[in-house]
């Protein structure tokens, strides 16, 4: 590390700021930062020749002017001094041309100035041209972008997530996280995606870099070693890159949570070896969702709604088929996963696969699912469900259309591979659609948004379908058909100072807490999804559930309801009105005065 610049970078990037949250400092190597400074050096090196040419031309021109004999106004011999000569050369070279100063030139001088004009103009043009060419050069601009990005990441003063891979999943996730007010840093190997990132209007400033996510140096620049980095999301569409990013994060920052995606169980096992990353397998998750959708349609509806994020409309509730067998077309990784899940759920499954991937399975038929004779062979008339699960969107659409025609009552699930096919799949009538990118985005969102939501979603399926139906009913009654924002409140001395005394001395039912401060007969338009008390969690508690100090509440509702609830939690007078229907003066002086005169707060009729 001989170069002071190198030391400088390392020192900056390993974060020697004061007052950091973590005491331990992480030394993460930064290969690319040195590359960036190398480019700057290259630029300086390339400017050597133009600058020397310019200096030489100026020197010769100025020297010549001082040596050539001239005349002053009276015709006496006179020689120009260095300052006059430099002055004349400066304005001549820059094509300003103030004229012949201080005295009119002799012919000797004019001849010399003529030569100098051409020389200096060429010199200037060469130097400026070289500089402009360098500025426009790709590698130089990349180096500048890298430095800009590095500076932005370094200056992040709040917790942020490192998103490696800004594909469809990354974009969906970034939008949801941005709506939650979270900060994040993005790296993607495709420059087009990073351009999209800058065009997308996020609330927060999102630093983005075109870089390979598998390179630990790039991850380090993107904030892997930053004290405020709170997690790494390796969600590129390349399993190898995800694995590499997972490895880098686990080895260099073992304290950080890592969430990654893959569709291959082998890759999942390889990822699990490094630390304990959360691996999201969209096929696996879709299989689980499909099972839930068949067993408990209302639970599935609630799950997908909450996972999809604020602003999303209530999804349609599916109508699961009762009996009969299932037909799965395509026996790749997805087909295997779904077949396994359906069989675990107790359904008979017939596999249709053109290749020999499924030849060991007794219920496999070789053929293509959209061919009429294959459809007859699988007894499509009496089938309960149909899965179009090949890795080709055109084939899947054909399968869906053929299945529809053969048996309109079937439960039809399909897999969408390319984002561009979304409108086509939306147009055909489907009971379940797998979009791997969305499954991953929703899953990661649920894990990251609040730990309470994740807890809710994990424990919710056990509550049964009727319970889920009542929760959906409650949500739609109070908050409408579009999901409102989710937020968390802890009934602690800090977040709910007004409630502290009350919670310690008396029983506070949730229903009373959620009365409106404007009119306590009205209920706030918010639903408590979960009350977490230590290790136990109460899902969608009823109105007379008593809350206690330090309970954590997960609420969903309009922003207005959030503000009103905050006033109940923060302002003593509002709390008195909401909980006890007492009107108390809100200012300290009036409270003192009324206490002195009335002795006790007046009670309204």
């Amino acid at each position: 590390m001989g170069n002071p610049l190198l030391v400088f970078w390392v020192r900056l990037l390993t974060g020697e700021e004061q007052g950091q949250r973590r005491t331990r400092r992480w030394r993460v190597p930064m290969a690319s930062a040195t590359q960036a400074s190398a480019t700057i050096f290259l630029v300086m090196r390339r400017m050597r020749t133009p600058l020397i040419v310019l200096i030489a031309i100026f020197a010769v021109g100025t020297l010549g002017l001082t040596l050539i004999d001239g005349q002053d106004a009276q015709g006496r011999p006179w020689r120009m001094g260095f300052f006059d000569a430099f002055y004349v050369m400066s304005y001549t070279a820059s094509t300003i041309g103030f004229g012949e100063i201080p005295y009119a030139f002799t012919y000797n001088q004019r001849m010399w100035v003529t030569i100098s004009i051409y020389l200096t103009v060429v010199g200037w043009a060469y130097a400026i041209g070289s500089l402009l060419a360098l500025v426009q050069e790709r590698s130089f601009r990349q180096a500048l972008a890298l430095q800009h990005f590095t500076r932005k990441v370094r200056r992040l003063g709040e917790p942020f997530l490192l998103i490696a891979g800004y594909g469809q999943t990354g974009e969906l996730l970034a939008r949801s996280l941005d709506a939650l007010g979270r900060r994040f840093v993005v790296i993607d190997s495709d420059s087009g995606r990073i351009d999209d990132l800058y065009l997308a209007s996020y609330h927060a400033d999102v630093p983005g870099l075109v870089a390979d996510a598998g390179d630990p140096g790039h991850l380090a620049i993107a904030g892997l070693g930053h004290p405020y980095c709170e997690g790494v999301l390796a969600i590129t569409d390349n399993d190898e890159a995800n694995l590499a990013a997972t490895q880098a994060a686990a080895l260099l920052r073992p304290d950080l949570p890592v969430i990654t995606r893959t569709v291959s169980p082998v890759m999942e096992a390889r990822m699990q070896v490094f630390g304990s990353p959360t691996v999201v397998n969209p096929f696996d998750r879709f299989g689980d969702h499909l099972r839930l959708a068949l067993r408990a349609p209302a639970s599935f509806q609630l799950l997908t709604w909450l996972e999809s994020g604020p602003g999303e409309p209530l999804p349609k509730r599916g109508d699961p088929p009762s009996g009969g067998h299932w037909i799965v077309c395509g026996y790749g990784r997805f087909g295997k996963e779904v077949t396994h899940d359906l069989r675990a759920e107790g359904y008979d499954v017939t596999i249709v696969e053109p290749g020999d991937a499924a030849e060991n399975d007794p219920d496999a038929i070789v053929g293509r699912g959209y061919e009429p004779h294959v459809l007859t062979a699988v007894d499509v008339e009496r089938a309960a469900g149909f899965v179009a699960g090949t890795d080709n969107d055109t084939t899947n659409l054909s399968l869906v259309a053929a299945a529809h025609r053969a048996n309109p009552r079937m439960f039809i699930a399909a897999r969408q591979n390319r984002p561009s096919s979304a409108s086509l799949f939306a147009a055909v009538d489907l009971d379940a659609l797998l979009v791997p990118a969305e499954v991953v985005a929703h899953e990661v969102y649920a894990q990251l948004s609040t730990p309470l939501l994740w807890r809710f979603l994990r424990e919710m399926p056990a509550k049964g379908d009727e319970w889920a139906d009542s929760v959906v009913g409650k949500l739609t009654n109070l908050c409408g058909k579009h999901l409102q924002s989710l937020w968390k409140v802890r009934l602690s001395a800090v977040e709910a100072p007004a409630l502290r005394g009350v919670l310690e001395s008396e029983r506070v039912p949730l229903g009373d807490l959620l009365r409106s401060p404007d009119d306590r007969e009205e209920r706030l338009h918010t639903v408590v999804l979960l009350v977490a008390r230590g290790d136990e969690a109460h899902l969608a508690p009823s109105d007379d559930f008593a809350v206690t100090l330090d309970d954590e509440l997960l609420l969903v509702g309009e922003p207005a309801a959030r503000r009103l609830l905050d006033s109940t939690l923060l302002i003593d007078a509002t709390r008195e009105y909401v909980l006890h229907n007492r009107h108390v003066p809100s200012s300290w002086i009036w409270r003192k005065l009324t206490r002195r005169t009335a002795g006790s707060p007046d009670r309204l009729p």
Binding site: G2, N3, P4, L5, F41, V43, M44, R48, F82, F83
Partner: protein
């Protein structure tokens, strides 16, 4: 033989020698200090500075720093000289003394530069 090293060494040495040539002599006597020599020292120093651009080693960084110091001192000397002869009351003894002492500072920086050059050469042979 590396032509780049020849050019580099040439300019570094020439900057130092020209500077020395201007500096030597009675501090206040304008006749002993040729203005053309100062001019040449400024130009050669500027070229030497540009030649030192873009060297990534530690010794290269110090090289650049010494050259920048020498430039600063010599340009200051030239400015004082220009001010004295065009604006002030000519090259008095005081003015000449300050021009020459400024160039003396530059000479020190140039000597450091030459020492660095020698050190670099010697350590290169050892490797």
């Amino acid at each position: 033989m590396n032509l780049e090293k020849v050019v580099f060494g040439f300019f570094v040495l020439l900057a130092a020698t020209l500077n020395f040539g201007f500096f030597i002599g009675d501090l206040g006597d304008a006749e002993l200090h040729n203005s053309y020599e100062l001019y040449a020292a400024v130009v050669v120093n500027l070229i030497a500075t540009v030649l030192k651009f873009g060297d990534r080693t530690q010794i290269g960084a110090v090289h650049l720093a010494t050259s920048l110091v020498a430039d600063l001192q010599l340009i200051a000397a030239a400015l004082v000289w220009g001010y004295a002869s065009y604006v002030g009351d000519g090259l008095t003894r005081e003015a000449t003394a300050s021009v020459v002492s400024l160039s003396g500072g530059a000479l020190l920086a140039n000597i450091v530069s030459v020492v660095l050059l020698v050190v670099e050469t010697v350590s290169f042979h050892r490797r």
